[in-house]
Symmetry: C2
Subunit: 210 residues, 2 copies
Amino acid sequence: MKTRDRILHVSLLLFNEEGEAPQTAVDISNALGISPGNLYYHFKGKDAIIRALFESFEEEMRLILRGSSGGVASIEDNWVYIYIILEEIYDFRFFYRNLGVLLDRYPDLAVRFRALVAEQRGAILRVLSDLAKAGIITIDPRLREALTDQIMMTLTFWLVADSLNRKEHEGAALIHRTVFQVMCLIVPYMGEAGFDALTHMIDHYERSVQ
Amino acid sequence: MKTRDRILHVSLLLFNEEGEAPQTAVDISNALGISPGNLYYHFKGKDAIIRALFESFEEEMRLILRGSSGGVASIEDNWVYIYIILEEIYDFRFFYRNLGVLLDRYPDLAVRFRALVAEQRGAILRVLSDLAKAGIITIDPRLREALTDQIMMTLTFWLVADSLNRKEHEGAALIHRTVFQVMCLIVPYMGEAGFDALTHMIDHYERSVQ
DNA sequence: GTCTATAAGTAGATAGAC
DNA sequence: GTCTATCTACTTATAGAC
C-alpha cells in the first residue's frame, strides 16, 4: 500500500474514531509511524487530506444514488436501498458529526456537499414516486416534499441524533434502527397495508438486533 | 451593564453570527473593546463563557418545557408551542450548529444536554398524548415513539439542515417553515381532519412568509 | 520518498502596574 | 476592575540532508 493511500486510510480511521478536530498533522504522522515532513510531502496538511477523503465519499455516494433509477419497486427494495446509503455515510461518519463546522471552514466543499445533498433528495423523490406508481403508497402531493425533507433529515443527522440519546454508539444496530425509523415515516402513507408492513418490519427489526 | 454580562452578550452574538470555532478569547475582548487580561479576569477563557451561556439556555428551555403541561390542547396551541421552542433554540443557535464537536469537547455539558433533550422528548410525548386524548390525532402506539423521535430530530437539526439546502439563512421565515414541517409530521395522524388542517396551515404559512 | 531540525504563527494564560 | 507585557504551549509549514 502506497504511503499516500495509507495516510488517507489512517486519517479516516482517526477522524471517525476520535473526531476530526483534535487530530493534528503530527498526530496523523505519528499514527502512521512516519515523520510530519513526509506527511507534508504527500499532502499540504490536514485540509488536503479532508478534501481527498471527501472526493472518495462523493464518488461512492454518487454511484449508489445512480443505482436507484428503477431499481426500487417494493418496500423491501426500499429497505435495502436506505441501508446501503446509511452504510456509506457510516464509513465517512466524521463528516456528518461536524457538518456545520466543516461547511463553514471549507466553502468549496460546502458547495459540492450541497450538490450531493440535492442529488440524494432527487433520489428519494424518485423512489417515493416509484412506490406511488406501484400503488404501494398514496401521498397528498402537498406532503410529498415534507416527507422527502424528513427522510433527508434522518439520513443526514441520525449519527449525531443518536449521540444525543446515548453515550456509546454501536454501528450495526444503529443502522438498523435508522432504517426502521425511515420506514416508520413511510408507513402512514401505506393505508391498510401499513399495519401489516409495520408488524412485519418490527419482527424483522427485533430479529436483527437480537 | 456589567462587564461580565457584556462579555456573555457579545460572545453569544459573535458565536451565533460567525461561528464558535473561529472566535478566540482575544477576538471576543477586541469586539468588546476590553483587554484580553480583563476578559480572563471575568472568565477563565472561552470554555467558561460557553458553559455560562449553556446555563442560560438550559434554564430558559426548561421554563418553556414546564409550560407544556396541560397547556397544549389544540393544533393551534401546538403550533405556537413549537414556535416558542424554535425561537429559543434560534437565540442560542451556535450550540446547534456544532453539536457533535461541542459534546465531544465538553463531556460535562454533553451530560446536561442529553438530560435536556430527554426533557424535550418527554414534553413532546406529553403533547402528543394530550392531542390523542382530545381526539385530535389517532396514532398506532408502535409509531408514537418513531414520531416523537422524528419531531425531536427536526427541532434539533432544522438549522444545520437548512444550511445544507441554501447558502444564506433568514431567521423568521425559516422558523415558520420548520413549524410547518413539524405539523406535516402530525397531519397523517389526523385522519379526515388532516386534509382541512393542512389546507388551513398552508394558507397560514403562505401568508406568514409574505 | 523519507528523515531531522527548525522557523513562523497562533491561542491560551498569567503577573504585575495602575 | 482594567490594562500592558510577556510567557508557554502547540500547530503548521518548510529547508536541507540522506
